[in-house]
């Protein structure tokens, strides 16, 4: 009898199985390898030497990390999805589909009909690594996360596309007091959504489903989410006993096709391949020697505040709290900035409890000697902590950091702060904050990324960072989004890089990310002469050194780099010059209680997920709201052109209009360029006696409805929403759906050309090919162009005659009506824009011009940013209300898309108006904005304006948006102050 051995080497685990001739499992093991995959496999094989020694066996390797191992060792290899399919075919033959989640891969296999096997693309979202990362973030083990999830009450929407995104979704929920149980279940739900959306790509998941892989094997909560979401019963959801080892079993089955070799030879091959390392792309070392390092630390340790003894100090003191995303920082300072007390700790998902405990401790230490005369709080949890403990002041992080930096280096002209989750940098010009750059959602999470990585490799973060200091050849891991580094690291390991090389490489990568991706600097001079670096991540000497090396210049890192936000807050509290702080006193803390309850606000269609925090004495704090209505106040009704346009489009342009609707009901999906062209088509079709039926308002539910037919998960959210829109129209039973393809937009004479972007232009064709239900209706998506009226008329006359047998005279008249409707809509937008400007000027209100595309006025796309802006006291205008006020001007980029040209023109106009600012909305995945953002920034900065960009995706993270808007406001105030 020849035994078959299957070894599955994944990104985090090694699975080994032995099968006999009847495909019976003789041995199985499942172990984490901590990136020492081959060694682990050898150990396992040696542990079963008794069974295999001296025999001929057939051995096959599989798995994402197995490829490299098999190659260097000269062993046979099969692709892991293929192996899994083989195992399922053998053990559960009547399976319809398989879902397998691994460490960094997600796979799906469809049986029945033609075999279809697919795995996730280059993104590690929605996999085991993602779950690990989330558990780390919540400071629980994966098993605890699982247990928590089973006790959930509600599910929050969380993006799992990328771990970094999810982090920015989860953090605000946790910081604002959301229940851990609910967050845990939401994380699993995100994985399910990602798998279903990302992998099925239009093929329906039905029949008997088999779930495989480590996470699905061990995590009951994850199983539950899958079963619930796909509405499966016990017979149709199969979780096989050895589901975590199926790929290895498949490899063993496939081994039948390969030659048998003596086991001892095979083991020797595997063991000896250890020495073989191939070339890795490396970089110069961080430090040449210990002396180098010592000089470096001595230089940086010079920037330090005076250390005072809290046990003996007598006098006034000021409290600063930085309730950051992952950590809470607290300092108590004397009036001269001397440090009495400092605290830096992971907030364990509950910043309130941490601050409470710390305040008690501080009061105890203060006794009667020290009087706290002011308190200020900054950071993500600012609102919550301020309300919970009655702090005197809340200030935006950027301002807090500047205050602290200026304390150590009054000449500071550039500050960069890399914290656990986010990166902030800004320039200082004439003593004021200028050009704020926050990391875009896709590269945030830098600090915690190293930490997660350290843990994954089995190290403590501090030890891990030190490992890289003296390595001779740090590995070059590239500088893209940190999540993609997972696979870069995997590749480096495969190529034989050591943990030391990887540690140094990660530090360098994060620095490169900061400099080239966030700051987008080409040289050190782009930043400044006096750079202060701060944030917990810069405590990592490797990161700091890499930063100096990359810039080729020395920077200042205060010894309290990790608590600069809190330090700055304390300085701000001091400058309030209060007689008495309103901070809760020692006795009040004794009776302090805090409960958080999740509720859904039903006051409008936004349906915000609110968290109601109740404190003792009836104090309440509600978070997660976008407007003030759930707080019991009326919505602030400042002029808001985004809302006006949206409302106007939804209410004016549907129904029968002036016609009688006798020709039937024509459905129009309310998305993408229809936000511009709807008035046109409404005028056209109602004149032809069609009733125009709009798809429902966008919502997350509508998105989920169409999610499974989205073929490309990296396309922008506004496009993805269209799937739900057309499905809804089909359900509404319209007679036909009208959604024409338009390569060209209107020619407004303000650009070098007048294209639409490829996605807007051709999405109708993608829908036709991917949404099955469109086959049951008349989906009309012809190519049209509206900018040559005569040619358009000719063409549409023919089309209407062919499609609906409409006489040419009628169509001609309808075309006239269409252009009239469109022009009156545009005129209306221009007029309202002027009215709003007048209103603002009458009342002395600042104006924000939100520059985006027409469809960015959809509340599901902008997540209520417009209302957030009005709640901060801005009058909101849109780019199309102003763009016509400027003519054509040559640009440094090819100015060839109409919607984008409008933004350039609006920005140019804003530069001429002292009371206007621009906020640019950018949808994640929008390719054209890679071009426009730089150009917008340069137009505005040359015009002496601030540039603020808000990146938006399918999930709302208003916390980050708030920081940006408040930073903008602080900068505006600073400028005003300077001018006076």
């Amino acid at each position: 009898m020849i035994l078959r051995v299957g070894i599955d080497i994944g990104s985090t685990t090694v699975k080994v199985v032995v099968l006999d001739e009847d495909n019976k499992l003789l041995f199985r093991s499942y172990e984490r390898h901590y990136s020492k995959a081959r060694e682990r496999a050898c150990e396992t094989l040696r542990s079963i030497e008794d069974m295999l020694k001296g025999r001929d066996v057939r051995l096959v390797v599989t798995g994402s990390a197995g490829l490299g191992v098999a190659k260097t060792a000269g062993l046979d290899f099969v692709q892991e999805v293929y192996a899994t399919a083989a195992a399922v075919n053998t053990y559960i033959p009547d399976t319809d589909a398989v879902i397998e989640l691994g460490g960094e891969d997600a796979k799906i296999i469809f049986f029945g009909g033609a075999l279809e096997e697919r795995m996730n693309g280059s993104c590690a979202g929605g996999t085991g690594a993602f779950i690990d990362q989330m558990a780390t973030l919540m400071n629980v083990t994966v098993n605890e996360l699982d247990e928590l999830s089973l006790k959930h009450e509600k599910i929050y929407p969380i993006a799992s596309r990328c771990g970094v995104f999810a982090k920015s979704d989860i953090q605000p929920i946790l910081n604002q007091g959301g229940r851990k149980e609910d967050v845990a279940a939401s994380i699993f739900q995100a994985v399910v959504d990602q798998t279903v959306a990302g992998l099925t790509q239009g093929r329906e998941l039905k029949g008997k489903l088999v779930f495989l892989g480590g996470p699905l094997h061990f995590l009951m909560g994850l199983r539950e989410r899958f079963v619930d979401t796909l509405q499966l019963d016990e017979d149709h959801a199969v979780f096989p006993e050895d589901g975590d080892c199926f790929a290895a079993m498949g490899a063993a089955l496939c081994a039948s096709d390969y030659e048998a070799r003596p086991f001892d030879d095979l083991l020797r091959l595997l063991e000896e391949s250890r020495a073989a390392t191939s070339v890795v792309d490396t970089m110069p070392p961080l430090f040449e020697n210990q002396a180098d390092y010592d000089a470096f630390t001595a230089r940086h340790n010079a920037s330090t505040p005076p250390q005072l003894d809290i046990h003996t100090y007598e006098g006034d003191a000021y409290l600063g709290i930085d309730a950051g995303s992952t950590t809470t920082k607290i300092v108590l300072i004397a009036p001269d900035g001397g440090l009495l007390y400092d605290y830096y700790h992971s907030n364990l998902g509950n910043p309130v409890a941490i601050v409470l405990e710390q305040l008690k401790e501080i009061y105890k230490l203060c006794g009667n000697r020290i009087h706290i005369k002011g308190s200020a709080v900054t950071g993500y949890g600012e609102d919550l902590i301020k309300n919970a403990f009655s702090c005197d002041l809340g200030l935006v992080e950027t301002v807090a950091h500047y205050r602290a930096a200026a304390h150590f280096n009054p000449d500071v002209d550039f500050i960069i702060d890399i914290g656990g989750q986010d990166m902030k940098c800004f320039k200082i010009r004439n003593g004021a904050v200028d050009s704020i750059m926050l990391n875009e959602a896709c590269s945030s999470g830098c600090g915690s990324f190293i930490e997660t990585f350290a843990k994954a490799l089995g190290y403590d973060i501090a030890d891990f960072a030190k490992l890289g200091l003296f390595t001779r050849k740090p590995v070059n891991l590239g500088s893209r989004c940190t999540v993609f580094m997972n696979s870069s690291v995997k590749q480096a390991q495969k190529d034989g890089a050591s943990v030391e090389d990887i540690s140094a490489g990660l530090s360098i990568s994060i620095v490169k990310n900061a400099i080239y991706k966030v700051i987008r600097a080409a040289s050190a001079d782009d930043l400044g002469q006096h750079i202060v670096v701060q944030g917990g991540t810069f405590h990592n000497d490797a990161v700091l050194r890499a930063f100096e090396q990359e810039l080729g210049r020395e920077v200042t890192r205060p010894t309290i780099a990790g608590i600069m936000g809190a330090f700055g807050a304390a300085l701000a509290a001091r400058d309030l010059k209060l007689e008495q702080s309103s901070l809760l006193g020692e006795t009040a803390l004794q009776s302090f209680t805090h409960t958080a309850k999740p509720v859904t606000c039903n006051l409008c269609t936004n349906h915000c997920s609110l968290t109601v925090n109740s404190f003792d004495g009836g104090r309440r704090f509600i978070s997660g709201n976008r407007c003030s209505r759930p707080l019991g106040k009326e919505k602030a009704e400042l002029p808001n052109l985004m809302r006006y346009k949206y409302h106007s489009l939804r209410t004016t342009y549907s129904g029968k209009g002036q016609g009688d609707g006798s020709r039937g009901r024509i459905g129009i999906p309310f998305g993408l360029n229809m936000y511009e062209n709807l008035p046109f088509w409404f005028g056209f079709f109602t004149a032809l006696n069609f009733e125009v039926v709009l798809s429902p308002e966008s919502s997350r539910k509508l998105y989920i409805k169409g999610q499974r037919t989205i073929p490309s998960d990296t396309v922008c959210y506004p496009a993805k929403l269209l799937h739900g829109h057309v499905e809804a129209l089909v359900e509404m039973g319209v007679d036909a759906i009208w959604y024409p393809c338009m390569s060209y937009n209107n020619d407004e004479g303000i650009g070098d050309n007048h294209y639409n972007c490829p996605v807007v232009a051709y999405y109708p064709e993608l829908l036709a090919a991917n949404v099955p239900s469109l086959k049951t209706t008349r989906f009309l998506n012809p190519y049209v162009g509206l900018w040559r009226r005569k040619d358009f008329t000719k063409r549409i006359v023919k089309m209407m005659e062919q499609e609906f047998s409409i006489p040419w005279k009628e169509t001609r008249a309808a075309v006239d009506n269409a252009y009239d409707e469109y022009h009156s809509y545009i005129w209306d937008v221009h007029t309202m824009g002027q009215q709003y400007i007048d209103h603002a000027r009458e009342h002395g209100l600042p104006i924000v011009v939100v520059c985006g595309r027409p469809y960015h006025i959809d509340p599901e796309i902008n997540h209520g940013i417009d209302e957030l802006l009005t709640s901060f006291g801005f009058v909101v205008l849109t780019e199309d209300a102003l763009s016509y006020r400027e003519g054509y001007a040559p640009r440094k980029v090819l100015n060839q898309w109409t919607f984008q040209s409008r933004m350039y023109n609006a920005a140019r106009y804003v530069c001429t108006q002292p009371d206007m600012q621009v906020v640019q909305l950018v949808s994640f995945g929008c390719g054209t904005d890679a071009i426009t953002t730089d150009e917008m920034r340069s137009i505005l900065e040359q015009g002496g304006k601030l540039y603020t960009q808000l990146k938006i995706d399918d999930i709302s993270n208003l916390g980050a948006v708030k920081i940006r808007i408040r930073s903008l406001m602080a900068a505006m105030e600073e400028r005003k102050r300077r001018e006076h």
Binding site: Q79, G478, V893, L894, T933
Partner: protein, 430 residues
């Protein structure tokens, strides 16, 4: 030393003096075609170097000077050019750059502007950039695409397609490694020499050359083992350029597959056809349409010659542009023209119809047109052709080779399984 001169919009010009003094650097997209293009330019009196560098430094330079969310090809091409100026041993004051300019609705039309922005950022704003385009977009006194040069370039393209097509069908099977490439090199020189002597640039002479080339390639000793044929389609740069696609063709060869890469001629015809279609859909000058039709007709005739030549041999011949256009009906409209437009889907269809259902669809991460014409059409192709087996691979600075290779390996494993399944079904008479 040539003086720096600017046009009225402040664009730095490439002057006649520069033609004498400067070395022009050009990126490489298709090794064979661009190699011949380079030689043709040299014969016109330009000093031209084609960049064949391929190392991590290129990506790093690109990341430094180009917005990181811009498409990967822009990042690579610009990174490669800047890397060459800085580290290629050139005098930065004596180099100019070639870059193509298409002018469609996708981001690629911005390459030249992004390149200029990058040069400025790198402190190299004194380096002139020469636009290579057929639309008369930007003109330079020191460089012109004369009719005779354009003609030579078009013939070079046709020969390039034929050479690559033949070579791809021989290389996986050659008994003596290197035979095919030796043959390729030999023919490239012979053709260029011919061009110089005014030979090979009529349809009649081309037909003769085609036969001679193919006859030569047929003499290379080959094995007769059966290999999986794998189609490669995608965004034009990552489809063709080894720098862009992490040496995809080499990888497919090492996996025992035969790469089938549709050529450049279809793309050329496609771009001309688009202008004709624009007039059809949106209106415009009849004369423009007529001119495009004539131009297109000529290249199509040349393409038919190539197909006819291949059909006379044991080599597989590609289909005509017209045929591809027919196949794509019901998938995408003629108006779908940005990037590779409907041509990309058309190429996949043609591959499936010519017995190559296993396809790698390459695209830069986040490529806008490919959301529609690449990934967006795979579902429908799978529905219509259940045995099609298409894997979409994203390329970007962060994507790792191991990830890409593993997915291609899955596609190859699938290819075997599907072939088996199909055979079994055929055997059971279902």
């Amino acid at each position: 030393m040539a003086e720096l001169k600017y046009d009225k919009d402040g664009r730095l010009l490439f002057t006649k003096e520069m033609k004498e003094e400067y070395t022009i650097l050009m990126p490489q997209m298709l090794p064979v075609h661009f190699g011949m293009f380079r030689q043709l330019l040299v014969l016109e009196g330009y000093k031209v170097d084609m960049l064949t560098t391929n190392h991590r430094g290129i990506v790093d330079e690109g990341l430094k000077y180009v917005h990181n969310d811009t498409c990967y090809p822009a990042l690579l091409v610009i990174g490669q050019l800047i890397d060459a100026i800085k580290h290629g041993g050139y005098d930065p004051h004596k180099v100019a750059l070639f870059i193509t300019q298409t002018g469609g609705g996708c981001r690629a039309s911005n390459y030249i502007h992004l390149l200029r922005k990058a040069l400025e950022k790198a402190g190299l704003e004194f380096v002139p950039v020469i636009s290579v385009n057929l639309s008369g977009l930007e003109k330079n006194p020191g460089f012109s695409l004369t009719l005779s040069l354009v003609r030579k370039l078009i013939y070079a393209m046709l020969y390039g397609d034929l050479l690559v097509n033949a070579a791809n069908q021989v290389r996986p099977y050659e008994l003596t490694p290197g035979d095919t490439d030796k043959m390729l090199d030999g023919w490239q020189s012979r053709l260029i020499d011919g061009f110089q002597a005014g030979k090979g640039m009529s349809r009649k002479q081309m037909r003769r050359n085609f036969d001679a080339i193919l006859a030569d390639f047929e003499t290379i000793p080959v094995s007769h083992e059966e290999k999986v044929r794998v189609g490669v389609v995608g965004e034009i740069y990552v489809k063709f350029s080894p720098l862009g696609n992490n040496n995809l063709e080499d990888f497919l060869l090492s996996e025992g597959a035969e790469p089938v890469v549709p050529g450049l001629t279809d793309f050329m015809i496609f771009k001309i056809f688009n202008r004709e279609v624009d007039v059809n859909i949106y209106g415009g000058l009849w004369a423009k349409k007529k001119f495009c039709q004539l131009f297109k007709g000529y290249i199509e005739a040349c393409q038919r010659d190539m197909i006819a030549a291949l059909k006379k041999t044991r080599f597989q011949a590609p289909g005509t542009f017209e045929n591809m256009h027919r196949l794509v009906q019901g998938y995408l409209g003629d108006g779908n023209k940005m990037g590779e437009g409907w041509l990309l889907t058309g190429e996949m269809l043609e591959l499936i119809h010519s017995g190559v259902p296993n396809i790698v669809c390459t695209q830069p991460f986040g490529c806008l047109p490919n959301h529609i014409v690449g990934k967006g059409m795979i579902r429908k192709l799978k529905d219509d052709y259940p045995y099609s087996n298409i894997v979409a691979i994203d390329y970007d600075p962060g994507a790792t080779k191991i990830n890409q290779e593993n997915r291609i390996k899955l596609m190859l494993a699938n290819a075997k399984a599907l072939a088996k399944q199909e055979k079994e079904l055929a055997g059971s008479g279902v």
